[in-house]
């Protein structure tokens, strides 16, 4: 994506004020139009004088039938409107898992283990070290207990035990925070891409918490890092159909069974970046939850680029030459992510952008397509539409790319970078850690709009727009509570190991 089409005076102060004036004019067009209309009516009324006004009033005949019909008509229209309006879906609260200190993996430990496990492939060890140095991860990220062994012991038992540890802890915390009773859960959605045992993880949750037998449970697997927002979309759709209900979503990625044991370089990358994490979210369409809910779901846009072969194969799970299974990340990943984002914001833009930006975009489009002027495509300024951004912490490159494409400042992407530093790439739950970061910093105010962007294999780009329902006090507990004062930290380009 590229620069603005206007001649490059953007550094000029004059243009800034022109832009501001233009935005104010277009975005408040209707209100501004109202002023002259009111002025004209006022002038007219004054001119007519009180006697004439009374005459006009008396000349209007109000028949009982007419009055009744009009009232019923108005009531009928209002009822139809309110019935067909989609139910507002709220995010009541959410909880992110904080791994225990015993799962901590400092860089030096990771590298030492790597040298011991891959002792026959020093080049692969060297490669892993270079990845780690530039990854943007910090020294406090966590791996599950099974991966701490030399060599790792990724048995099914260990995977289940990791799943129980991360999911149950997050859910216990959610139940405590919201006061929700397990038997009151109406809908349960669990998403975990790479671990899908029988019975499913959602069955595991139902078993542990003794949830109701008529619960509507769903288990989404294989949908990649964007599955968290897919679960939110599913919950929203279900909450349209079921009145007065709530939905619990559990987003996680179980690392244990997916540790790549081979030495193919493109497949070693996930070992360096993926870390333990999970989030449990409570959504509701009940009116009684309106007061205590943290956010309201405004929009959710899903874009799937799977029809394009290059996108489909760019994150591909396969066996290497020695038959070891791992996830192959293609070199075009960033370019494909950029394309997917472009497709997503093409749909998202009209829903969220103020009229001023949409008009500019329209003019630029007309100019390029119809008049064939050599303008670069106009990138709307999304900073006007949102106060906070949560970009999936897939890796440093993803955040850099999006920051560049959307022209965001360092503070906008701070939540994403700091989450990557503190927790690593926790896959579908990373968006929730980032949201928690913003809340922990005390930046979330009532009325603030948040844009969550997630990318996932397929290749998918999903966006969710939330509006903050009430100013959120800095949480006393939570994954950031013991370290938020140390953030933001400066993350060097290359960490010397």
């Amino acid at each position: 994506m590229s620069q603005a089409p206007m001649p490059d005076f953007s550094s000029s102060v004059k243009l800034k004020y022109v832009k501001l004036g233009y935005q104010y004019l277009v975005n408040h067009f209707l209100s501004l139009l109202l002023i002259p209309v009111m002025a004209i009516i006022a002038v007219e009324l004054l001119r007519m004088g009180p006697q004439e006004i009374l005459n006009v009033w008396n000349s209007l005949h109000f028949d009982l039938v007419q009055v009744l019909c009009s009232s019923f008509f108005v009531i009928f229209i209002s009822t139809v409107y309110f019935m067909s309006k989609p139910r507002t879906v709220y995010l009541v609260d959410y909880s992110c898992y904080k791994p225990p200190v015993m799962c901590r993996v400092p860089f030096s430990t990771f590298m030492e283990h790597s040298r011991l496990i891959l002792k026959d492939s020093p080049k692969s060890v060297e490669f892993q070290m270079r990845i780690l140095e530039r990854s943007g991860l910090g020294e406090e990220t966590c791996l599950p207990p099974a991966i701490h062994y030399i060599p790792p012991t990724p048995t099914m038992d260990e995977a289940r035990s990791e799943a129980q540890m991360v999911i149950f802890t997050a859910m216990d915390d959610l139940f405590k925070k919201t006061g929700l009773m397990p038997k009151d859960v109406d809908i349960l959605i669990v998403n975990c891409s790479l671990f899908s045992p029988t019975p499913s993880l959602s069955a595991m949750v139902i078993n542990k918490y003794k949830l109701r037998s008529n619960i509507k449970s769903f288990n989404l697997s294989g949908m990649g890092c964007s599955a968290g927002l897919i679960s939110v979309d599913l919950a929203r759709d279900l909450l349209q159909v079921h009145p007065n209900s709530n939905a619990v979503i559990v987003s996680t990625e179980i690392i244990t069974p997916n540790y790549y044991k081979g030495n193919e370089r493109a497949m070693l990358l996930p070992n360096c970046l993926f870390r333990m994490g999970s989030a449990a979210i409570l959504m509701s369409n009940r009116r009684s939850d309106r007061w205590r809910a943290k956010y309201k779901l405004c929009h959710l846009v899903r874009t799937h680029r799977g029809a394009d072969d290059k996108s489909y194969y760019c994150v591909y799970e396969q066996e290497d030459k020695e038959g070891k299974i791992g996830i192959n990340l293609s070199k075009d990943l960033m370019a494909i992510a950029g394309e997917a984002l472009k497709a997503n914001i093409t749909t998202m833009g009209p829903l969220v952008l103020p009229a001023s930006e949409q008009l500019l975009f329209l003019f630029s489009l007309i100019g390029r397509k119809i008049f064939n002027l050599k303008w670069k495509p106009y990138i709307p300024d999304f900073k006007l539409a949102f106060e906070h951004f949560c970009i999936h912490a897939g890796g440093r490159a993803v955040i850099d790319e999006l920051q560049k494409n959307l022209q965001l400042s360092g503070e906008h992407v701070e939540a994403s970078r700091m989450t990557l530093h503190r927790f690593g790439n926790t896959s579908s739950s990373s968006l929730w850690y980032e949201l928690c970061y913003i809340e922990s910093k005390g930046r979330m105010r009532r009325g603030d709009r948040v844009w969550q962007i997630a990318f996932g294999s397929g290749f998918k780009c999903n966006s969710a727009v939330w509006k903050c329902n009430r100013t959120i006090k800095t949480p006393k507990d939570g994954p950031w509570s013991d370290c938020i004062d140390r953030y933001p930290v400066f993350i060097p380009e290359v960490v010397k190991l």
Binding site: M102, R104, P106, S108, R115
Partner: protein, 423 residues
């Protein structure tokens, strides 16, 4: 030794290695500079095993054991770092949170069966040991082995590089672990409050210290190369039995040293040792416990034949021991390769070490094993408290070919009640 060894395959199996680090990241760039005394000790390793009964330790899981270690290492970050060399070649520790190796294992025997053997040198197999090097930057300084016995009993075997600290430090560290496990908040004094472990020059002699010997350069693999195969034997003695040997009111360690010196001298015959090294803790070090080397190393030299001498004369000579700690510290600064334990016949006094303070569920360990790895050809004797308050354990490490003769001498002088053959 015992039927355990005769079986061929070890009863200890199913090793699983992992790493334990600090709970919080250490400040980037933090380093630790070893003193000369530390460097002089680099070829030696301390091995200690704490054995807990099934009743005490049955419910302790690996996570229960690892958690206090994480808390402790946050405050002692250099013991989980790795060695590097400055451009000058001088060794230092980079505090990079790399961690210690944690080894889990299983034992097919019950604790009763394991502890049946009076010669506790079998406990060696409960300590997973690897030397530091050849890749200094990737060698942990501590190995902790957690062995689960068939009945549920637990053994913790620590292999500890002597360059970090002495036996007092090791026992202090493990005591802190047990206190953290019990939920106690540990007070960590600021580093400036600790005395820098620099020993003061107590003697004015310029002689080369006798208790330390330079060895051929070992490079980055810190292993002592012995010319003779060494073996270990241990036995228990009652304090009262020792004290009854001499009417005078003497320290039981000194009496034991004198007796054993005589026995070994008799066994060695012509090449009887006329000089010994005594290593004991620094009384000041006891007040401010920390992880560092504070031991006092002194040398005793006699000009008479120990074989024919009176125990009293030997003890008198020991009183006149020369404290060589300062000289060793100076020598160590040269950063060459030395051995101290076994350079001369060495006697290590650990009678005051509080091993049994490492309580789990308020119960002391049932048995403690303590020895040194990397002892030179002249051998070493370590004396430390046994589980029973009035007993001491004597751990003797000598060349294999003279051990039988020494055992015979020990039996003759009544220290060892009877030599059991095989069992």
């Amino acid at each position: 030794m015992g039927r355990l060894q005769e079986e061929g395959s070890s009863p200890i199996h199913s090793f699983r290695l992992s790493t334990v680090s600090a709970s919080r990241p250490t400040e980037t760039g933090m380093t630790h500079e070893p003193t000369g005394l530390d460097l002089a000790m680099k070829l030696h390793y301390l091995k200690v095993v704490y054995i807990y009964s099934a009743q005490t330790a049955r419910d302790l899981t690996v996570m229960h054991v690892k958690w206090p270690l994480f808390q402790l290492f946050e405050h002692i970050p250099w013991i989980v770092g790795r060695f590097r060399r400055h451009d000058s070649g001088r060794l230092f520790i980079k505090c990079n949170d790399c961690g210690t190796r944690f080894v889990e294992s299983q034992c097919d025997l019950t604790l009763e069966e394991w502890l049946r053997v009076p010669d506790r040198s079998v406990d060696e197999s409960l300590v997973y040991h690897q030397p530091v090097g050849p890749g200094l930057a990737y060698s942990p300084l501590i190995y902790i082995q957690m062995t689960r016995f068939k009945c549920g009993g637990l053994a913790f075997g620590l292999s500890w590089a002597h360059i970090m600290g002495d036996l007092f430090s090791l026992s202090h560290f493990f005591n802190l672990w047990s206190r953290t496990l019990a939920g106690e908040e540990i007070y960590w004094p600021k580093p400036s409050n600790l005395q820098k472990g620099c020993p003061n020059p107590t003697s004015t002699t310029d002689k080369e210290p006798g208790s330390i010997k330079q060895v051929d350069p070992v490079g980055d693999l810190w292993v002592v190369s012995n010319n003779r195969k060494m073996t270990t034997y241990s036995f228990n003695v009652k304090v009262n039995d020792i004290k009854s040997q001499l009417p005078a009111n003497r320290n039981e360690f000194e009496i034991l040293t004198g007796i054993i010196w005589k026995c070994i001298a008799k066994a060695r015959g012509k090449s009887e040792p006329v000089a010994i090294t005594i290593i004991r803790p620094d009384p000041n070090g006891l007040k401010h416990r920390a992880v560092r080397n504070t031991q006092m190393i002194s040398s005793v030299h006699v000009d008479f034949s120990v074989v024919h001498a009176n125990l009293d004369d030997i003890l008198k000579a020991m009183v006149e021991a020369t404290d060589e700690t300062f000289l060793i510290n100076e020598l160590g600064e040269r950063d060459e390769d030395f051995i101290v334990y076994g350079a001369k016949l060495t006697f290590v006094d650990m009678s005051e070490v509080d091993f049994y303070e490492a309580k789990v569920r308020e119960t002391s360990p049932r048995s403690v094993y303590c020895n040194v790895q990397g002892i030179g050809d002249n051998g070493a004797v370590v004396v430390y408290p046994a589980a029973k308050k009035d007993e001491r354990v004597v751990m003797v490490t000598l060349p294999e070919d003279e051990m039988e003769k020494v055992k015979g001498e020990l039996e003759k002088c009544g220290l060892v009640k009877e030599l059991s053959n095989g069992e």
